[in-house]
Amino acid sequence: MPLDPTLKEQMLTAVPSLRAFAISLSGNVDRADDLVQETLLRAIANIDSFQPGTNMSAWLFTILRNLFRSEYRKRRREVEDVDGSYADSLKSHPEQHSHLEFNEFRTALAKLPPDQREALILVGASGFSYEEAAAICECAVGTIKSRVNRARNRLADLLSIEGAEDFGPDHATRAILAAGGSRG
């Protein structure tokens, strides 16, 4: 039977966010898109286990995360330095990220342990609640909260943020204003 149009629509609606999550996990756009495609195929093959009315997006995120994890574990057996290879994949494909302004942030994000990175992204960017993120990561809500906190602290350290004025466009704007000299 062809896929129910409502379910198909829900899947397509989740694709942009799934891609963003996959890119943040894998650090590579091509791999991320393959991961999303595999996720959709897996979801369609197991559509009977989806409870209509529940959160399609959270269900797809869970599948994608599990696919990535199993691939990650496989790769870890084959390659010693997995964290290093992630960082390298960022360096070798800078052109895949359309906005260079995020490079510093991406590099810092890549240095986080995978557990912390995914928790921060699910809660801080994908917009899931702590409870939903815990369900996706199959861990306790308290674990997610502590991972998110540690991730934020580590990022602040890596980016040397001591106050809001040290970070982001505000800083650049202030620098330009300062360079403009004082008037009056």
């Binding site: 942009p16 495609q37 195929l41 960017a125 001591e162 106050g163 809001a164």
Partner: protein, 60 residues
């Protein structure tokens, strides 16, 4: 001179301004991808799957 108040306490929580800056940057990076929408390959894939299944049913 950097005053004590400007430095993040090593063991304490991050200030709200720092948290919000990290959050903004994270969402901006994420939304950058989200705003690309659905690449054709995913629409094509789902359509092909549907056509394939219809064909299979027709054969039965």
């Amino acid at each position: 001179m950097l005053s004590e108040a400007n430095q993040r306490k090593p063991k304490g929580r991050l200030g709200r301004d720092v948290q919000s800056k990290i959050g903004q940057q994270l969402r901006a990076m994420y939304d950058d991808v989200v705003n690309e929408g659905v690449p054709d390959r995913f629409n094509d894939m789902l359509r092909q799957l549907d056509e394939q299944k219809k064909k299979e049913e027709g054969a039965n």
